[in-house]
Symmetry: C2
Subunit: 430 residues, 2 copies
C-alpha cells in the first residue's frame, strides 16, 4: 500500500474525496462517544463492586492493632492498609507508607503545596524564591502539569525515549540548576505512551546529584499493577530501594492509589518515601487532618486480603482492557500502518495509547473527531501549558467505551487521521 | 459551706491533708481514663454503625442526576449530598455547598493554604505579605490555632462573652487593620465553652466592614445539630443569609462535617459560601482532586435519607451524651459550687465543658489528674500558641468515657481542682 507521501496530487485528491464522504456519513450517524479520560468502564466497575459488601455492621471493625476504625485516630493509616499498599508498590518497609483518602492526585498537590509554603528539608519555601522550575517528561499527564502551573512553577519539557525520560538531559539540567526542584514521572506504563522506565533509567534517577538540596522526584506509580498480559509484563525497579543504595534516600516521593483497582474515586491512596520525608510530611499532615477514612482502608483490606487478591482483581481488569487495546491497535495496524499518517507504541499495560500524528495535525484530528461525536483528550493536553510544540500527539483512552463503542470510535478516529493527513499534504487548512 | 478563701490557714492545711490522702488513695487505684479529646464513645458509635449497611453491591449506585458513583467525576459532590448538608447547616441554596472528604479540618486547612498561596478575591497571596494576622476568640479550638500558627499567621486573642466573641473588639480591630485576614468561630456550642453566638453577634459579624478586602470569617459550625435537649436547644442565625442581607455575601466560609453524626473519621464534610467564594474555591479544587468519594456521599444520603433522619440520629446521640454532661455538672455543683475553686458554664450541646480554675492552677490540675491516671486536654491548648494568659482554663471532654468511667474521672478531677486551689491559697507550689 502506498503511503500518502508517495501519492500524486490527483491520488491525494481522490483519497480526500473518499475520506470526506466517509466522514460525512459518520457525521450523519449522530455519534456520542468518549475516549477523553482514563475512566474505567461500567463493566469493569461491575466486577469490583463487591468492595461495598466487604465491610458491614456485623464485622469486626477494629484494626489488627486494636484501633476502633469507626472513631478518630491514627494519622498515617492502619498498619494492614500500609502493608497492602507497600506490597502493591513493591516498597520494602510498610512503615514508610502513609495512607491517605481517595486519590493520589491530592497527595501530589499537597506535597507541592507544602514545599511551596513550608519548604523541603529545611530549605527556603518555594513561595519565597524568585524562580522555581520543574522537569516534565513529554508527553505526560495533564493533571501533573496543572499542579505545577497552578503554583507558577516554570516547566521544562524533557523528551520521552523508549527507555523513559532523556536522562542525559535530566542529569545535565538537575546538576546545574538549583532552581529545578522536581520532575514528574509515571514510571510504569507511562501516561500517555505506556512506556516503562528501563532499569538503567531508574538507576540513573537514583544516582542524580541535584544542585538543589530540595529537589525531589515525583514518582507517580499510577499503573504499577495495571498489566495487560499475565505472561508479558513490564518490570520496574523499586526506586526507593535504588535511592537508598545510591545514598540518596530522600530523593523520591512515590505515589499510588487503588482508584483503578477497586472503584474509581472510592479507593485509598498512598505515599511512600524515606523516613525523613515521611516525618516532614507528617508534621504538616497532623495540622491538616485528624486522619483519613480508616473504614475505607479496612474495607479495602478485607476485600482484597493481600497482594494475591489484588492481582486476581487486576487479571479481571486486564481481561476487560486487553481486547480494547488490541482492537484499537489492530485497527491502527491494518488501516494506518505504512500510510505515513503517524505512528504509535503498543503498550503492555496502563490506560492509554498515544497516537503520534504527522506534525501539525493533532488539533485538527481531535477537532474532526469532536465534530463527528467522538470526544478525545484535548490536543496539547499531554504537554505543559497545553502546548504540543509539534502539534502531533493525541492521547487515546480506550478504557471507558464498551468494545462495540470502541470499534465505532476507532473507525472514526482512523478516518479523521487520514483526512487530516491528506489535507495537510495537499497544503489545505486542516 | 465555706469557700477556701474564707478559711484560716489551719483549716486550709487540714483540707490539704485530707485532699492529699484522697489523692494518694486515687493514685493507688492505677486508673487510666481519657477526657482529652472530643471523641465519640464506643456505645455512641454502635448506634451509627448501620451506615455500613446502607450501600451494598445490590443497590442502585447512581446519583439522582444519573452519575455512576463508582466512577470518576463530579467535582463538588452529588446533589443529594449537597441538599442534605445544606439542610443540616441551615443554608438556603444547596448549590453553594461543596462536599468534600471525611473531615472539615482539612477544608479549613485548604482554605487557609489556598489564601496563602493564591490569595483571596484577587488580593495579594498571603505568602507575599510581610504580616498576616488572625482573630482568635478564646478559649477556642486548638486545631484551628494550629493551622494559623503553621502558616506563621499572628494570632490575636479575643475574649469570649456569654453572647460570643467580644464584638466591640472584633469590629474595632477588623475595621482598622488590613493585615487581619480572618477569625476562627465555632458559633454554636462553641469549643470548648458551649456558648452559642447571640442573634446580635451574628448580625454584627455579617455587618463587619473589614479594612482587608480578603478578610473572611471561618464559621466552623461543628456542633450545628449537636443539641443535648430536644426542648431546650440553642438557636443560631444563618450567617450566610445574614451576610447576604447585609450586602456582604462573600464575607464568610462555613464548615461542617458528619464525623460526629455518622462515624468519626468516616463521614463527609462540607463548605458553604457565596457563589464567588465557591467559584474561587473550585478553581483550585479542580487542580487538587478529580473529586471526593461519591460512594460515601451516597452511603450517607441513603442512610439518613433527609434532615429528619439526621435529627433522629442526633436524638440518640443526645441520649448518650446528656447523662454524661449532667453527671459531671452535678458533681461540679455539689462538690465545687461556692468553694471558690473555679467556675463553669453548663452547655446545652456540643462536646465539651470548660472549667475555669483559679488563676495559675490549670496546668497544675491537669498535671495532678495525669499523675492520677486521668488524661485531660493539655492546659493552654484552647489558646493560641498554647498560652493561657491566666493559666485557668481546662477543657473537659466527657464524650468518650462510659458513664461509669466518667463518674470516676469526675471524682478525681474534683479532688485535683480542690487540692491545687488549696495549695495555691497556701502559697505552695502547685
Amino acid at each position: 500500500m502506498k503511503s500518502y507521501q508517495e501519492m500524486s496530487k490527483e491520488e491525494l485528491l481522490a483519497c480526500k474525496a473518499e475520506l470526506e464522504a466517509a466522514y460525512k456519513e459518520i457525521q450523519d450517524r449522530d455519534l456520542s462517544l468518549n475516549m477523553a479520560r482514563g475512566k474505567p468502564s461500567s463493566a469493569q466497575l461491575d466486577t469490583g463492586v463487591g468492595l461495598l459488601d466487604a465491610l458491614t455492621s456485623k464485622d469486626n471493625l477494629f484494626s489488627e492493632e486494636g484501633t476502633d476504625c469507626r472513631n478518630y485516630g491514627v494519622l498515617d493509616g492502619i498498619v494492614e492498609a500500609k502493608r497492602l499498599m507497600a506490597a502493591i508498590m513493591d516498597v520494602k518497609d510498610p512503615e514508610n507508607v502513609i495512607i491517605y483518602g481517595n486519590g493520589s492526585l491530592s497527595i501530589m498537590y499537597d506535597t507541592v503545596s507544602r514545599s511551596y509554603t513550608h519548604g523541603v528539608a529545611g530549605c527556603t519555601p518555594w513561595c519565597k524564591l524568585d524562580q522555581v522550575k520543574w522537569l516534565c517528561p513529554v508527553p505526560g499527564y495533564d493533571r501533573h502539569f496543572a499542579i505545577t502551573e497552578h503554583f507558577g512553577i516554570e516547566m521544562i519539557n524533557i523528551p520521552m525515549l523508549p527507555t523513559g525520560p532523556d536522562m542525559d538531559m535530566v542529569e545535565d539540567l538537575v546538576s546545574k540548576d538549583p532552581s529545578i526542584k522536581g520532575i514528574w514521572c509515571v514510571p510504569k506504563y507511562s501516561n500517555p505512551q505506556g512506556i516503562t522506565y528501563s532499569d538503567e533509567t531508574v538507576k540513573r534517577f537514583a544516582r542524580l546529584k541535584p544542585a538543589a538540596k530540595d529537589f525531589r522526584i515525583y514518582w507517580d506509580n499510577a499503573y504499577v499493577i495495571h498489566d495487560l498480559y499475565e505472561d508479558d509484563k513490564d518490570s520496574l525497579l523499586d526506586i526507593i530501594g535504588e535511592c537508598e543504595k545510591a545514598g540518596n534516600p530522600d530523593l523520591v516521593f512515590e505515589f499510588a492509589s487503588l482508584s483503578k483497582v477497586s472503584l474509581a474515586g472510592a479507593g485509598i491512596a498512598a505515599l511512600a518515601c524515606s523516613k525523613a520525608n515521611r516525618e516532614e510530611t507528617l508534621r504538616t499532615m497532623t495540622i491538616q487532618t485528624i486522619g483519613y477514612d480508616k473504614l475505607n482502608m479496612l474495607r479495602h483490606v478485607r476485600y482484597f486480603k493481600n497482594l494475591d487478591g489484588v492481582k486476581a482483581r487486576m487479571r479481571e481488569h486486564a481481561s476487560s482492557m486487553r481486547p480494547k487495546f488490541e482492537a484499537l491497535l489492530h485497527l491502527f495496524d491494518t488501516e494506518l500502518s505504512g500510510r505515513g499518517a503517524g505512528s504509535w507504541i503498543a503498550p503492555k499495560g496502563g490506560y492509554f495509547i498515544t497516537y503520534e500524528a504527522p506534525e501539525g495535525c493533532a488539533k485538527a484530528i481531535v477537532q474532526l473527531c469532536k465534530e463527528a461525536g467522538i470526544v478525545l483528550t484535548k490536543a496539547g493536553a499531554p504537554f505543559p501549558y497545553g502546548k504540543d510544540p509539534r502539534d502531533s500527539v493525541i492521547r487515546v483512552a480506550p478504557s471507558f467505551p464498551s468494545a462495540e463503542e470502541l470499534a465505532v470510535a476507532g473507525e472514526v478516529f482512523v478516518v479523521c487521521v487520514k483526512l487530516a493527513t491528506v489535507k495537510k499534504l495537499l497544503g489545505e487548512a486542516v
